[in-house]
Amino acid sequence: MTITTVKSAYVKGIAAGAPFVLVIVPFASLFGLLATEAGLSVLDSLIFSFAVIAGAAQLTAIQLLQEEAPTAIILASALAVNLRMAMYSASLTPHIGSAPLWQRALAAYLTVDQSYVVAIAEFEKRPEMTVSQKVAYFLGAVTPVAPLWYIFTVVGAVLGTKVPDSWALDFAIPITFLAMIAPMFRTLPHVVAALVAVVVSLLAAGVPYSLGIMIGGLAGMLAGAALEKQLEQGRTGTA
């Protein structure tokens, strides 16, 4: 493993993460706008985005702060929205768990939906990558995303006026995530995992603190793993 291959992994990561610029710009601006509307200063909003770097959790917190919910409830709800980060961390561990501590800490801070999904898709496609290449690829994928998250939080906060509802920016996120997941449906268990996750998440939508997402996600993972095991046993004739 040479410096060159690590560098090219980083560059490949940047290329793979680049499309998310189209999503991060409106989403970060939206957070900036809503934060200003809720009474945060431009600097408050920037610190919020820099320290937490998690849009959905930040929006949840802003909304509940405005409703004057108890602080403990706000923290619990926003962290529940972010619980999936722990699952991402677990999923990344077999790939980058043996990297130096500072690299793992940096990658942890920069673990967002976009960097995770881009990186894990590549790691699964090319298992021969070294740990340094994987870390470089991951950091590359988040390079176009994180700076724009900070910058456009400020832009949105400074503009301070509401983006017209007709722009339907609320839907930028669902569309991106669907576009990101679709290419990952490589095997039947992947498809089944997604279908089960969707159905259970919809059934559990009424569960407080957005925990329905986690319940749906766990159900999907259980279904995918169970089916994978069954298919494997079927092939080897041990079933």
Binding site: L22, V23, G39, D44, I47, F48, A51, V52, A54, A56, L65, Q66, E68, L75, A78, L79, N82, R84, M85, Y88, S89, A90, T93, P94, G97, S98, R104, A108, Y109, T111, D113, V117, I120, A121, E124, D165, D170, F171, P174, I175, F177, L178, A179, M180, I181, A182, P183, F185, P189, V191, A193, A197, V198, S201, A205, G217, G220, M221, G224, K229
Partner: protein, 108 residues
């Protein structure tokens, strides 16, 4: 408006808590081997958690007050289909956006 003390407690708490969630396994498990059954489940993290996150937003969008919206449903279906067919994230996003704006325009 928002109480500044609660705001800072929330920002700091959320920053520390989010980092710990993200660092939980990569940081504290590190290169110790994880059991095969766990790894088998973790393989499905992305394809399970993200659809679970998106499904309620597709079916009951906040922007319409939670009422199902034909434009958003169509956009989601097109983005997904395009993604499965082309395996191209950007093409899927583009097709979804075009569908969304086209339908919103047509339906007024």
């Amino acid at each position: 408006m928002i109480d500044k003390t609660s705001l800072w407690i929330v920002i700091i708490g959320l920053a520390v808590g989010s980092f710990l969630l993200r660092f939980s396994f990569t940081g504290f498990v590190g290169d110790r081997a994880m059991p095969a059954w766990l790894i088998r489940h973790l393989r499905y993290t992305a394809v399970a958690v993200l659809p679970a996150l998106v499904a309620p937003k597709v079916l009951w969008p906040t922007a319409t007050g939670g009422d199902p919206d034909p434009a958003r449903l169509a956009a989601a279906a097109v983005a997904l289909t395009m993604g499965v067919m082309t395996k191209n994230v950007l093409a899927a996003m583009g097709a979804g956006a075009v569908t969304l704006y086209g339908m919103l325009y047509l339906l007024g």
